[in-house]
Symmetry: C2
Subunit: 667 residues, 2 copies
């Protein structure tokens, strides 16, 4: 049995699958099976053909008045499809064919008969497509002048009846009928909104995707960006949106190239829609069904774009397999990290470079007492792990030409084995290793520089503040903490995929938990903004040489308002951090200031239970709290939407009340 183009796509991960869409009116039961070898000879992987012939329109338009006995029988489910109703009559080559449903149905007609017959016809077509085992089904875009309610309901019901067949709603990226009178920057909004209504009714049915039709004029990046949070499975390109280059070959404009390249990461199928029907030799016994043997220049061009993508960066290589995967954040305080986790993070090419630079600068800034030679500088590394920051410190000391005495404090007994070896093999007397929790260690001398790498994706979410509060009594009064501070950033985000994945657990607690995720099918509704900051050392709240009486000074809260220029769905909050290690040496995963090439942290995702729709121009308000009791730290969050003149029109519940679903243990 032939493998389907989808199986082929899965096998050839590094190629792009392209389909050929001839003009539907010219595809008949007689020529459809010749189209498959024709298209394949032109370098296509599959074809797109109508499932039904125009004759099938009879079920809607025959007998405008009273129903004929045949039609009564049909609608009672007592009459099957007739051969003349069909273009696709057999399962031959069905794995290489994507079917299109007819577009003459009118689901939202005022006439109950038209509504009903449209629905019955859709269901009959769909079950036939499923029976044939077509590679997929493309659904028509409802005329933009029509409501969508009943179409959405019909589709939802039909999808719930069909177990396997995937289907893609054809959506124009600009809906010309609707957008004649709309300001340029708003063009393309309505087609997303119409898809959004339909998709929200269908729930998160994973069988339903988008076949996005690119037009010669494209909407703004901001409008297009929303599609990256949607299940875009197919990109449709009409031959006539291609330009012709000097050598007479079809090429895309720079803007179209950019958009196509952006979509490559979602590995969509591409469909080239042709305005002309190829001449086929309609002799089924002839081997030569081909008009000419040259490959399609349009398909060739898409493959060329695919091959010539930028080589994946370090982050992309690292990220393979992590994209859109929900990970629980690390709890290094409560759990001990394993060796491979250390190893992964030690490979980051940027992070330790920045640490080294920060330590070097701090060493150079240490004053020379009495204008003479500086004493030995004491560097204490708390949470030394397998030793990377000790190595940074040693290299920095060398560069700065300073003598250092290093303490490396680690509580994880397994990591401690490694640093024992490091000391024996490389470090020698310059490094003192200490097996202890940094919060309870009695230091033999106070440090000039306290170095730590305790940051999580949200900055403070791995309890860096609490750990450094406990450790700061080992730091001299004029000592330096590296990092000096860290700021948490938040942004409202859209991602059907991530929300559906959280929903899949069918457990409230999963909606009240944060996840570390390499974002892929994610779109931010607005750029991230800072929500709170932690500074070290903290001499305001913590008495000198003492532990804090309570952890209340590490409570934070913030309320940040964003304006969403386009309409969109909020599925939760994206979290990031920026940290000043020392003066102008920073680490950042905030998109605007991201440390280039650094891969140690993915963003953090705080879901909300019920997604909120945000009208264009509305305000999204994110309220966040970092709270604490004697045993744990947790976040609570809430998302709301305000519209000028109407006030707060929507809100999520308060998530994770009292840390009931997720928290970070202090011990």
């Amino acid at each position: 049995m032939a493998i389907s183009f989808q199986q082929a796509a899965a096998m050839a991960l590094d190629s792009v699958q392209i389909g050929f869409l001839p003009p539907a009116a010219h595809v008949t039961a007689d020529n459809v099976l010749q189209l498959v070898p024709y298209a394949q000879s032109k370098g296509f992987d599959f074809i797109i053909a109508p499932i039904n012939s125009p004759a099938y329109r009879r079920v809607l338009f025959e007998n405008e008045g009273r129903l004929s006995p045949a039609m009564l029988a049909w609608r009672a489910g007592m009459e099957a499809l007739r051969p003349e109703d069909l273009v696709l009559r057999t399962a031959d080559r069905s794995e290489a064919i994507v079917g299109t449903l007819s577009d003459w149905q009118d689901f939202d007609s005022q006439d109950p008969k038209v509504r009903l017959h449209s629905e019955l016809a859709l269901r009959q077509q769909f079950t036939w497509a499923a029976h044939l085992g077509l590679g997929g089904v493309i659904l028509p875009y409802p005329p933009s002048s029509r409501p969508l309610t009943n179409y959405s309901r019909v589709l939802t019901g039909t999808l719930s009846m069909i177990p396997y067949t995937v289907c893609w709603l054809r959506v124009p990226c600009m809906d010309n009928d609707l957008e004649k009178d709309v300001a340029e920057e708003l063009q393309g909004m309505k087609s997303w909104e119409r898809w959004n209504i339909l998709r929200n009714m269908a729930g998160s049915d994973s069988k339903l995707g988008v076949a996005l039709e690119l037009s010669s004029t494209l909407p703004t990046d901001q409008v297009l960006d929303r599609w990256f949070a949607e299940p875009v499975k197919v990109i449709i390109l009409h031959e006539d949106i291609f330009l012709t280059n000097n050598r007479g070959y079809p090429v895309l404009s720079k803007r179209h190239q950019h958009v196509v390249r952006m979509f490559f990461k979602f590995k969509p199928y591409f469909i080239i829609s042709s305005p002309t029907m190829p001449k086929l030799v309609l002799d089924e016994f002839s081997d030569d069904v081909l008009e000419e043997s040259l490959a399609s220049p349009h398909a060739d061009y898409i493959r060329y774009l695919y091959r010539t993508q930028d080589a994946p960066g370090v982050i992309d290589q690292f990220a393979t397999g992590y994209q859109d995967y929900l990970q629980a954040p690390l709890q290094p305080l409560q759990d001990n990290l394993d060796s491979s986790t250390y190893e992964t993070f030690e490979k980051d090419p940027i992070k330790y470079q920045q640490y080294e630079l920060a330590i070097e600068r701090a060493l150079r800034d240490r004053p020379f007492p009495n204008g003479g030679t500086p004493d030995v500088t004491v560097i204490t590394v708390v949470g030394a792990g397998r030793g990377p920051l000790v190595n940074c410190s040693l290299r920095a000391a060398e560069k700065a030409g300073r003598n250092v005495r290093i303490y490396a404090v680690e509580k994880n007994p397994n990591a401690f084995v490694t640093i024992q070896n490091m000391k024996a093999a490389q470090w020698g007397d310059r490094v003192n290793i200490v097996f202890s929790d940094m919060r309870t260690w009695k230091a033999p001398e106070q440090a000039d520089i306290l170095v730590s790498e305790l940051l999580g994706s949200f900055g403070d979410n791995e309890l860096s503040p609490e750990c450094l509060d406990g450790a700061q009594k080992v730091l001299k009064l004029d000592g330096i903490s590296i990092p000096a501070n860290y700021t948490a950033f938040v942004a409202p985000m859209s991602s059907n995929k991530l929300h559906a994945d959280v929903s899949g657990y069918k457990d409230l607690a999963r909606f009240e938990t944060s996840y570390v995720v390499m974002f892929k099918t994610v779109s931010l509704l607005a750029q991230p903004k800072p929500i709170w900051v932690f500074e070290h050392p903290n001499r305001t709240d913590i008495p000198l040489d003492q532990d804090p009486l309570s952890n209340h000074h590490n409570i934070r809260s913030g309320s940040v308002e964003f304006t969403s220029e386009t309409s969109g769905m909020v599925h939760g909050v994206a979290g990031y951090f920026e940290s000043v290690l020392y003066k102008d040496v920073i680490l950042s995963i905030n998109p605007a200031t991201h440390s280039s090439g650094m891969f140690s942290w993915f963003p953090i995702y705080f879901p909300i239970r019920t997604p909120l729709y945000i009208p264009a121009g509305a305000q999204v308000v994110l309220d966040f709290w970092r709270l604490t009791d004697k045993r744990k730290v947790w976040y609570e969050w809430r998302v709301s939407c305000k519209v000028k003149g109407l006030g707060e029109i929507q809100w999520s519940a308060l998530h994770n009340v009292g840390g009931r679903s997720s928290s970070i243990g202090l011990y």
Copy 2:
């Protein structure tokens, strides 16, 4: 041990519990315990007193600068309440005391210290109130100029820590600070909206209720109406909103009387707030702590209003115990009703009166063939049950002076036993009884009048259309069906109580099921509108003397738009029906046309999973479908909200896709 006033209220179902609220500033630890016997001697059931003394303000206002060691210890939870912090120092008489929390905290301050200390103080007060076992706690209304976000979060977290103590947020029915510049008809909207935000954050915590403060000026009925869908547990009346009548006694205005009477059905506690502190004899050994022995004329007046309510109507009597109780709709086609169900419905004083009248009119309207004496009229009662419609038919025939021959068809073998007895004892030869499903019965002769009582709360929801379709072949071509038609009505409705009850099942299917409910804590956002109609006999879709080939003609759908004049929450859809039995003889449970005194049907409630907030002036759209396959009939529904200029801003999911959660079996 003394019983609490709540236990007393539960025991004395038919009385009203009234509390005495003296000016807080004059209540001290020294006099608070004298206040209880004083208030009781004046006819009150309980008193309201502050939990803490003004001294407790120290936790917020002491040491504006750096925290003192004592304050550090306090916020670390290492210092208990001091005696001088408290008005209520012991649990003495706590069952007769409702405590008020202090109102000087500022939860949404910009100052983190003020926020934190406000929270810690609230929690300390609350846990003290719980420890004492106070009858309840009244929470202060947040100053209307302040945001509510952190207050709501603090309250939500605190409520989750306190297992039993009930608490009531004091809410003015008009917020004078906010409403100076607001049009009169909008006054009182903001205080509900502020409560709504807070309550939505706290979820449906059943410990949290409203203490609604009535002011001398009241908002419109529409604005007040929303409170009937809220957990209003306490009504606060200030002495100064009372008028003085001719005899010098305090009375309420007509409007206030009306509002108070409306609230009686929720059995709230009443609180009389007095501007003056009574003179107490502060000698604890004296029996005479009383200033005077006359009962409070204000409390007396409320009790007078309570005693002089209209006697409960037939429906109210019948409804006792049914109010706000979610019942599954009957499925008389699939299940057989039991005798007590028949008996209950047979007692309806209006329904059978209307049926008798309809049959009498129909009999009178039968033509006299050839201008002579009419033949015997054949009346066929389908679904005869225990025979009430047979009796109606016999009485109607007598009144109209017509000869009738009656067929009584019943499928329930147990009910059939009863009509066998009826025939033997009373009916004799005039009535032929038939044991059969009406849809399959082969009638010996066709009927002039086909009488049935198959209606559910939503008209067609007990499958009257399908049953009558099957039965209509026994009706002559010019025969009459009683009922002639029925129309389903829908309205967007608000009810925290009903929604919380459905949520309580923690099961999606329960949100996709309709319930028959005697509404109590329910408020309609707009008046009901018709959504579809069924007419009988149906000669268009059903061939003469045949059964229909399919049930598609009984599919219905409708989309109805409402304007909500006030803001509000939609928790689902209220459904009703109107039916024309014959010409102008109708049955209706639609509020606007309700058949007075008829109790056979409660409204039907279609919940939605996530409540929607509707801004004032927005459109609520209800989309409903009645769908069918070979085995069952089901409803699907969706609620959405549109705002002019913004389009559709919110929507519920499509509920009950494909009848997955609830349906009515055809067999």
